[in-house]
Amino acid sequence: DTSLAEVNSFSPSMPISPSSMINQYKFEDEPELRDLFITVDDPESHITAIETFITYRVVTKTSRGEFDSSEYEVRRRYQDFLWLKSRLEEAHPTLIIPPLPEKFIMKGMVERFSDEFIETRRKALHKFLNRIADHPTLTFNEDFKIFLTAQAWELSSHKKQGPGLLSRMGQTVRAVASSVRGGVKNRPEMFTEMNNYVETFSQKINVLDKIAHRIYKEEREYFNEMKEYGPIYTLWSASEEDTADSLKGVASCIDKCCKATEKRMAGLSEDLLPILHEYVLYSEILMGVLKRRDQIQGELDSKVDALANKKTEKDLFSEEIGKLEDKVECANNALKADWERWKQNMRCDMRSTFTNVAENNLRYYEECLATWESFLASQRVDLHVEEDSEDRP
């Protein structure tokens, strides 16, 4: 059905080799041809003395000048993705970094290494990298390039070079401290609006995520009942004579509806649930981004306040303040631009998801409708045949 759905690199369930992606790519927003194609596949488990973990193959195809080669194939584990995300967050505190799938799934009975869990994670990781590739700023990030191209040992040594854990902790401590110091006084109107939006959006999307999961569970239970229900009619028909055909017909209808329900469930779990969940994570990310922006502004504000009290050393401070003012302006602009981009992508994602859900449902209802209609028609034919044979003398 590739003709109907808009194929983009974000759909991880489509044929996954980068070359096939190049052939299928359709122009979306950017007029220029995309020059970076990434796939995540082939999960493999690695067993060492200390631990067992899964690595995923990351294949990159590119025509960009800054890449030495046009094709790369590396193996990465979940930890590496976490590292990349935190590096991006550090480098661009007010850009909206795409969400990573969660570290652990506590709820439900998903084992860490079940096939289902690994596949869900793989798809999410694929999406993560592609969203970064699609971001006008993040796509040129140096750590991103290293992530895509470096061999395993190269990556480990590069990771060690970054700012130490302690300095990163220091940043976090300062961040927490500044947020404790009190809310941001001079927050521009636009970011307050953004904050309100994100709070409400987060609420709504969380509820939808929860209910969607419950709905999936209900459909599964309904499916289980139907699976038991149909065969009873067949068993019953064995002891009937005239009604036997009708009963078998009903059994067949129920069976077909059962299969249709299974497909519908699959559609739900492939189309709707991952998106809702991704945007639940996104809403947390957005709140984080807004906090970091507030922090950056907070730094400026507190320095300005400090200056107001010290009438002397103005010159010393003014340079620092100038830098902070620049920082705030950069942060604000970055966030503003990214916010618009995020909203547009969100709308696009939602439209396409709802369309998939609608089409999925339409297929389901059409199939069920057709099966019952043909049963009814067959009964009416039988009735006529019976009536005719009764009329004959």
Binding site: Y222, W236, S239, Q344, M350, F354, T355, Y365, L383
Partner: protein, 322 residues
């Protein structure tokens, strides 16, 4: 309403309570023990589980009682029963009931049928087949009833989720600008599917399940009639044997044994005729039931189909320009 001569008037309108129906059924069983008496809806209702005075319960019961009387009316023998006549016409049924109690002292024909104590060696093949059929039949119906109830429960739980789900899209829509129309559309769509599912569940509860239950009850009472028939045959065979053992040279069979033989033959004939009638009715009833099931399902799927089709255009519309 009637044109029959044995009714004084062409039209009657009386009020009856469940007890009265129960009384009528008992009277019919007593006076026509060789016939299959249609079932009544269940007498006892577990309090707290079902509201005895809820509209739904009353309506379900009413339909079942209506069916009960119609089945008797259609029966060539039962419809001429005196008790039935009185049930339909008497202004004061209680007075007649009390009268009936007094008449019990007159040992009527009916009492003689309550023989008991005789054991039948082997049921004739045709009745054994009926007995086996009824066993399988009521078993299957019972299973279908149970699973159908579980399915309805699933549907109701699903409805609870949908009823919470739909409105969230709407409130989210209030937050958005460009997405607001599609989100409202999705919310409305889910609402429509909700309504459609409600109707489907209602139909299953009100039209589908009662028929299953009726036939389960029917099977039970039919099995009892088969047992009574066995009793009558057993009595006859026992008495016949007793005569044979007497080793008397009486070529003539005593009259009471002859009467037993008559009773057996009458019972068998009545029962066979009733079984055929029952099979015909059953075939019609179940055909109607299954077609009704198909029909209701079709209506449900059509409504949901329409609901989802209507939002596709809302989602295709891309007002966003770069």
């Amino acid at each position: 309403q009637t044109t029959r001569a044995e009714f004084d008037l062409p039209e009657y309108s009386v009020r009856r309570r469940y007890q009265d129906f129960d009384w009528l059924r008992n009277k019919l069983e007593e006076s026509q023990p060789t016939h299959l008496i249609p079932p009544l809806p269940e007498k006892f209702v577990v309090k707290g589980v079902v509201d005895r005075f809820s509209e739904e319960f009353v309506e379900t019961r009413r339909k079942a009682l209506d069916k009960f009387l119609k089945r008797i009316t259609d029966h060539p023998v039962l419809s001429f029963n005196d008790h039935f006549n009185v049930f339909l016409t008497a202004k004061d049924l209680n007075a007649y009931k009390k009268q009936g109690m007094a008449l019990l002292s007159k040992m009527g024909e009916s009492v003689k049928y309550v023989t008991g104590g005789y054991k039948l060696r082997s049921r004739p093949l045709e009745f054994a087949a009926i007995g086996e059929y009824l066993d399988t039949f009521s078993l299957k119906l019972g299973t279908i009833d149970r699973i159908a109830q579980r399915i309805i429960k699933e549907q109701l739980e699903y409805l609870v989720e949908l009823r919470e789900y739909g409105p969230v899209y709407s409130t989210w829509g209030g937050l958005e600008v460009e997405l607001s129309e599609p989100l409202e559309g999705v919310s409305a769509c889910i609402g429509n599917c909700c309504t459609a599912l409600e109707e489907l569940s209602e139909d299953m509860t009100e039209d589908f399940l009662p028929v299953l239950r009726e036939y389960i009850l029917y099977s039970e009472s039919m099995k009892n009639v088969l047992k009574k028939r066995d009793q009558v045959q057993a009595e006859y065979e026992a008495k016949l044997e007793a005569v044979a053992l007497k080793k008397e040279d009486r070529p003539k069979v005593p009259t009471d044994v002859e009467k037993c033989q008559d009773r057996v033959e009458c019972f068998n004939a009545d029962l066979k005729a009733d079984m055929e009638r029952w099979q015909n009715n059953k075939r019609q009833d179940f055909r109607q039931l299954l077609m009704g099931m198909a029909d209701k399902n079709i209506q449900y799927y059509e409504k949901c189909l329409t609901a989802w089709e209507s939002i596709i255009p809302l989602l295709q519309d891309k007002p966003e320009t770069k």
